[in-house]
């Protein structure tokens, strides 16, 4: 049994069969075959082996021709490995005695040999394990062939283990078939984290290399609350986690019971809690948690996993679907917030940037690409005739950008008017405050928009110059930092002065650790991942505005992030003694 520690990004417990996606996306679909299929599996294996050996020899000839025998030699070695009596013997044995599928047997056999090699002290020999994995890939390629099935064709639910998960991979996922995610890379706001939260399943990221330790079909445990991945769990551990899982399901029913209690402090202050969504279907999660509406609809997922831009009608359909579910509640739509680097298949790719996060992305991309931007704005305006829609612009850094956006919006409104299409002429227009420059001039910006939304994920990232996806910087990247707190206070004050609404979204808003602090600084609207709504509501109901203000004012005086975090924990424990950090 091995217990690996990573970054917890979506809480909950899952136990299940592993589906391993390595860097090339191979997966082992099944672990065992019935007795009568064993001979077939042996044949499949031998055939794949022969094909692979031919491949390797062909590559050897090619490489030798092009680059010389030194390079060809590696592939000659692979051809030897592919005809190695020990490898063949081991796989045959596993298939016959364990009734493993050819893929699983190959994976297990290679793993066994690789582990011995990796345990040797001589560098040369440990590196040979890479050759073994290469050979494994080749064999698996022949076994799985074009059965490179999309993840939506999973036969049974699995725990997905991968190096990392890309938007296009998860786009075709069948949510009902995934228990949890665990990845080698990734950080708190990585794509995996977002998807796991959207699907409300446990996830742990940033585990470092571990895929070589596990084979597809192995039983694994993902603890998304503590940030653990357990490989090959022993029976006592399995029991412990099954019990934990039961307790969690009980708690979930209790949340359901508290669902209809209002998010009101003990001294009567009503706080608005919105939900964040990526897909229209998540509007249901918001309803299930009695949210007051959708405070952040991340629309970039309309663009994921496609070769062409979504049409205006596709936008419109998605927005009205959300409205239909939510009735009268507000839906705040954030326009495309993504870099071209994420969705390479689109017609408007930008040449490779050295620094995509500081580059042509998000609102900048939209302002340089009026057709793209106007399509979305038009759909939003059309949808505004059917419910309480509000529009919000991401990554705004200057007043000039807001003015340009409003100009384009005015143009689109004119067009719609000419076409005789209905829309809300008073469509509320807001901006995300997530770039430090915007926070610093928020007093100016407050005069130009109807509302702010403080994007804490990016605000923390840009303020501390720390990549939120970098697991090495996990300690630096924290919303507790005094610089971040001061900026938030500045933005809230600017909003109050102009009497415009301000909400907070991002991880910080869903983390019960910060609820009193944010309320005390003046925030009255939180937009939160639906999964986190019950906990935030609980803290609100247990606290008072007076207390929250005291907490905020004290926290703003503290000088280090650590002091702030410790102080907030202490304050939370006073009202919620059993709080888990």
């Amino acid at each position: 049994m091995e217990i690996l520690r990573g970054i917890p990004v979506s809480h909950g417990i899952a136990l299940g069969s592993a589906l391993v996606l390595d860097a090339e996306g191979f997966r082992i679909p099944q672990q065992r075959v019935p007795e009568e299929r064993v001979e077939d599996e042996i044949h499949r294996f031998r055939a794949a082996l022969a094909a692979s050996a031919d491949d390797a020899r062909a590559t050897q000839r090619e490489m030798t021709e092009k680059l010389g025998s030194q390079y060809g030699a590696i592939f000659a070695a692979h051809a030897f490995l592919l005809e190695d009596p020990s490898l063949i013997g081991e796989v045959d044995k596993l298939i016959r005695s364990e009734r493993f599928t050819a893929e699983y047997a190959v994976s297990k056999a290679i793993q066994k040999f690789a582990q011995v090699l990796q345990g040797l002290s001589d560098q040369f020999f440990t590196h040979r394990s890479a050759d073994l994995f290469d050979v494994e890939k080749r064999i698996l390629f022949h076994l799985l062939g074009d059965r490179h099935e999309a993840l939506k064709n999973l036969a049974e639910p699995v725990v997905i283990l991968a190096v990392d998960l890309s938007p296009s991979e998860t786009a075709s996922l069948n949510a009902a078939k995934v228990y949890a995610f665990a990845t080698e890379h990734g950080g708190r706001a990585s794509h995996t984290a977002i998807i796991a939260n959207a699907m409300e399943i446990p996830a742990v990221v940033g585990l470092g290399r571990f895929l070589t330790e596990v084979a597809g079909g192995d039983l694994v445990i993902v603890d998304g609350t503590q940030g653990l991945l357990i490989l090959d769990p022993d029976p006592p551990t399995i029991e412990k986690y099954l019990a934990l899982q039961n307790r969690q399901q009980e708690e979930a029913t209790r949340w359901a019971d508290d669902r209809d209690l209002p998010a009101e402090t003990a001294d009567g202050l009503r706080i608005t809690i919105f939900g964040n969504i990526e897909f229209p279907s998540e509007a249901q999660h918001c309803l299930d948690r009695a949210a007051d509406g959708v405070g952040l609809y991340r629309t970039e997922f309309l663009y994921v996993g496609r070769k062409t831009d979504p049409t205006e009608d596709e936008h419109f359909e998605a927005y009205t679907e959300v409205l239909r579910k939510l009735g009268n509640q507000p839906v705040v739509i954030r326009t495309l917030d993504v870099g071209a680097d994420k969705f390479g298949a689109l017609p408007w790719t930008v040449p490779e940037e050295k620094n995509p996060y500081l580059g042509m992305r998000s609102i900048r991309l939209c302002l340089r690409n009026w057709p793209l931007f106007k399509t979305q704005l038009r759909a939003i305006l059309r949808a505004s005739a059917f419910g309480d829609i509000r529009v919000m612009f991401p990554m705004v850094s200057t007043l000039q950008e807001i003015r340009e956006c409003k100009f384009l919006l005015a143009e689109v409104k004119e067009d719609l008017q000419e076409d005789g299409i209905a829309f809300n002429k008073e469509l509320p227009v807001g901006t995300m405050i997530e770039v430090p420059s915007a926070a610093l001039v928020s007093d100016t910006l407050a005069r130009e928009v109807d509302f702010f939304s403080i994007g804490t994920n990016d605000l923390v990232q840009y303020t501390l110059a720390a990549d939120r996806g970098n697991e090495n910087l996990a300690n630096l990247y924290t919303p507790s930092d005094p610089a971040v707190l001061r900026l938030i206070k500045q933005v809230v004050d600017a909003a109050d002065k102009q009497e415009i609404e301000v909400s907070v979204c991002g991880e910080m808003s869903g983390d019960p650790l910060y609820t009193m602090l944010l309320m005390g600084m003046g925030l009255r609207q939180f937009s939160v991942t639906p999964q986190n709504i019950p906990e935030v509501k609980k803290i609100i109901r247990l606290s008072t505005l007076t207390d929250s203000q005291r907490v905020a004012s004290e926290a703003l005086r503290l000088e280090t992030a650590r002091d702030v975090t410790n102080y907030l924990r202490e304050q939370n424990r006073r009202i919620l003694p059993e709080a888990v950090d």
Partner: protein, 99 residues
């Protein structure tokens, strides 16, 4: 690791050699060894101390991890064992390969 050494076979030929190649028993000589070994019907066992591996298996030879200075014993058993042994020893004894 298996030990295919058959005690009921015909003649057993044995020889020892010290690895002098500065890279140890790395890929090129190992591959060459296996290539030759596979040409013979005789069984080939390579021993390092108490470890014994199948000389026709590249993986097993790699797992021996024989660095320079290691003493290996090659045992060949079977009808063509006599001609196999000297060739196999020669591969292991080679001081260097063009790498």
């Amino acid at each position: 690791m298996g030990d295919p050494h058959r005690t009921d076979a015909a003649v057993l030929h044995r020889g020892t050699v010290i690895i002098v190649n500065p890279n140890g028993l790395h890929m090129r000589p190992a591959m060459e060894f296996v290539r030759i070994a596979q040409q013979f019907a005789a069984t080939v066992t390579v021993k390092r101390g108490s470890d014994a591996v199948n000389g026709k298996s590249l993986i097993e030879l790699m797992m021996l991890a024989a660095e320079p200075g290691t003493e290996l014993t090659v045992e060949v058993a079977g009808d063509d064992a006599g001609s196999a042994l000297p060739e196999l020893i020669a591969v292991l004894a080679t001081p260097s390969y063009d790498d």
